[in-house]
């Protein structure tokens, strides 16, 4: 009975069972470790965006053939690290597989082979037949086991949170949500965020104020039990309805001489619709103070109409902003060819601390290429982000940090 009990205790921390199995295995080979070696692949250090479960699963399967035809075991640990224990296999044979896994993550900084360093960041090898290596790997494995317990706790907390996210958005619930979205009270959910021109000598100037409706709040009001963000295409479908609501609200505004520049996010299809015509009549002579933000995904999906929408907006005096760019994507296409007036790039933590590396150099080139005055760094939540932007020549910023700054520098009014 006591044994059953201990199994039960083990399964409550089942996330760490792999670590326990690894330690057991090490203990078993400790006294006859001839021919054994271990390769520890540090997938836990990948960027968050590369730690998706299906990525890790595919990485795992890369080892299949090696394991099937040799004396080798793969342990997938709770922190996503992979440990391969081998016996009497040619290093080259294992190397081929590790390189394949590295190749899968070739865009991740972790996979970069640093010629200057002694150790490879991606994987570490241990010759288990050497008592020194054995001891150091055993201690690594013990640490990983402790970490696994912590992760197990976190996971169970996160599972609760995931449950709170609710059912995924699907064609089945989409229609009801969409209907709600078109009918609900929404004007009180319109929020604003300031885009500020920051001068290096201090001070700032409002470029425009973005009007938006937070989808998070919409969700709380109409579908608290549905996860709206899980499916990009169906989410995009809902934004078309959101556009109509937004235009309805903004068409009520007075667009007189005093009017300060605003921006709003729309789908390309909305720009070419009657709802927009109505808004255009309300704006009247003030089109020069209205910036229309289009999502880059919409631009790619609707490239046929993008050019028409852009031209028709610019001809009437509006300015066009492309939103939703991340620095990674800028390396794969030339956004200056979109011929928009502004480009909005999202700040992410992955950018920080890479002042001198090749990626930053590349981003600096892109900034110069598209023109500093048309770039806006968004989602700026720390001063660090502003400094990073300024160092690249970017001077227009938006985000939580900027909202606070805008309040400080003059209640958000132009200085």
């Amino acid at each position: 009975m006591a044994e059953w009990g201990s199994t039960g205790a083990g399964s409550s921390g089942s996330a760490s069972s792999k670590e326990v199995a690894l330690l057991d295995r090490l203990k078993r080979i400790e006294n006859h470790s001839e021919g054994y070696f271990a390769v520890h692949t540090h997938l836990s250090n990948l960027r968050q965006t590369n730690k998706q479960p299906h990525f890790i699963q595919i990485a795992n399967r890369t080892f299949d053939t090696l394991i099937e035809s040799n004396d080798a075991t793969l342990f997938t640990l709770s922190n996503l690290d992979l440990v391969l224990i081998c016996r009497n296999i040619a290093v080259d044979e294992v190397d081929v597989v590790i390189d394949k896994v590295r190749g899968l993550f070739s865009e991740d900084p972790l996979a970069i082979i640093d010629d200057s360093g002694f150790e490879d960041n991606f994987s570490t090898w241990y010759d288990l037949s050497s008592s020194e290596d054995f001891a150091s790997f055993f201690s690594v494995a013990a640490d990983l086991s402790l970490e696994a317990d912590r992760i197990a706790e976190e996971t169970s907390r996160k599972q609760d949170a995931d449950k709170a996210k609710g059912d995924p958005l699907s064609p089945l619930n989409l229609s009801a949500i969409n209907k709600n979205l078109l009918q609900m009270r929404i004007a009180d959910l319109v929020d604003h965020q300031t885009c500020l021109l920051v001068r290096t000598g201090g001070g700032g100037e409002v470029v425009f104020r973005e009007s938006f409706i937070s989808m998070g709040q919409v969700r709380e009001r109409i579908a608290p039990d549905v996860d709206m963000f899980v499916n990009p295409w169906l989410f995009q479908y809902l934004t078309e309805s959101l556009d109509r609501r937004m235009l309805g609200i903004l068409s009520e505004n007075e667009y007189d001489e005093e009017f300060e520049p605003i921006s709003l996010n729309l789908n390309i299809s909305t720009v070419l619709s009657r709802d927009f015509q109505r808004f255009h009549r309300a704006v009247g002579e003030q089109t020069g103070n209205v910036i229309i933000e289009l999502q880059v995904i919409d631009v790619f999906a609707d490239s046929k109409n993008y050019g028409y929408a852009r031209d028709s907006l610019q001809e009437r005096g509006y300015r066009v902003l492309i939103d939703g760019l991340d620095p990674l994507s800028l390396q794969y296409f030339d956004p200056s060819m979109l011929r928009s007036d502004f480009l909005k790039i999202s700040w992410s933590n992955a950018l920080q601390g890479s002042e001198s590396d090749a990626r930053t150099t590349e981003i600096r080139e892109i900034v110069n290429n598209v023109g500093r005055d048309s770039l806006i760094l968004a989602r700026v939540d720390t001063e660090k982000a502003v400094k990073w932007g300024l160092s690249l020549g970017i001077s227009r910023f938006q985000g939580f940090f900027i909202d606070r700054l805008a309040q400080v520098v003059g209640n958000g009014k132009a200085l």
Binding site: Q52, F55, D302, D326, S374
Partner: protein
Amino acid sequence: MALASEAQKGLPSQENLLLEYIHRLESQKQDRKVVHLHLSSLRPFNRREQHIRTAAGNFDPLISELHGQIFLLKNSDIFFIFKKEFIGEVETIVQKIRFLFSDDPIIADEGPSTPPFATWYDADPDFDTILALVQGLANAEQQRQSVVRARMDARAALKAKQEQGEPMTPEVLARLETALTRADLSNLVRRQFICAVDDKMIPTQEFSELFISIRDLRETILPGINLTANRWLFQHLTETLDKRMLSMLTKTDSISISGEISFNINIATILSPEFQAFDDNIAASRRGSMIIELQKEDVFVNLNSYLFAREFLQEKGYRICLDGLELDSVQMINLERLGVDSCKLIWHPGLVDGGEDVHQRLRLLVKKAGKRQIIMCRCDNREAVDFGRSVGITHYQGRYVETLIAEDGRRRELLRLKRRIERN
């Protein structure tokens, strides 16, 4: 941009005025020259209205003396037609304008591989070239206006509804996706060949694309519904179709997959268990003969997943083709960096109408792509292939290519017959 107010009042566009002017010019072409300033190639921040006005203002003295005529086009390009004897003055002015934009890459990096900032023509020997160029610009502008109008026109929407059916709704999508999990779609799978076409219009089959005919799907399962009416709902539907396609490809008895084949698939599907199962079930040697087609929007909606999927696919031996490119996107996307093996450019008569400028750009692009093949798809007529060949494209797909294959088949059959008769 400069002409917003005139366009609103329904006056003829500058493109049309320019075309009229060129027509009238024919009688006095001996003593006229034309310069075309490609301000449309400037970076957007250099192309704002005041910049174009400043640039154009330099010509004012010559215009007021009636020595030349200026046209400011919708795309910011400037045309200046002038009397030959003023070439010196005009060259100075163009030099001045170049100086205005000297920090712009089009000037800073000017070289043999970049499009020029200014193109000069003698109206006399070059008259036909000028006319074709201007005609192209006018056509493009007219077409642009009519498309914008069509989109905003309720009449056009009604017409689309009558011709293509009621737009799809989420409810219909949900019903359809449930029905699809059970339906046998093998009779809806179509095949179209991608061919190299030589100068005698003889096709050589390279590979074939397998796809589920959306029109037939609609007619057999949901008559009267326009499945493609909403882009986002349709995109969602394709994920379900992907899985059906994969299961058909695994069960080779349901459809024939002989030879090199390609098929369209979402990146989300590649990373799903269904694709992993498909990959396990096909012979390793088959992977090398399979080309995975990805849509550009799918690549850019989650670039991170694309990069991962690319490594996974190419390492296994699959090749990747980027599908659904138009002129704008093919110029904008860095194909080399994306690491695709080929891409598909959608044929459109606008490519021809775009004039020499567009042709030159495409030619450079095809040259730069090198081994990364650019396939022209949706070729409905001979014009597509003729045009493609003129810019260096070698591979084609579409209804016209299918007729070429059929003709070639008939010709070979006749040849065989003839030889048999000769032998007898």
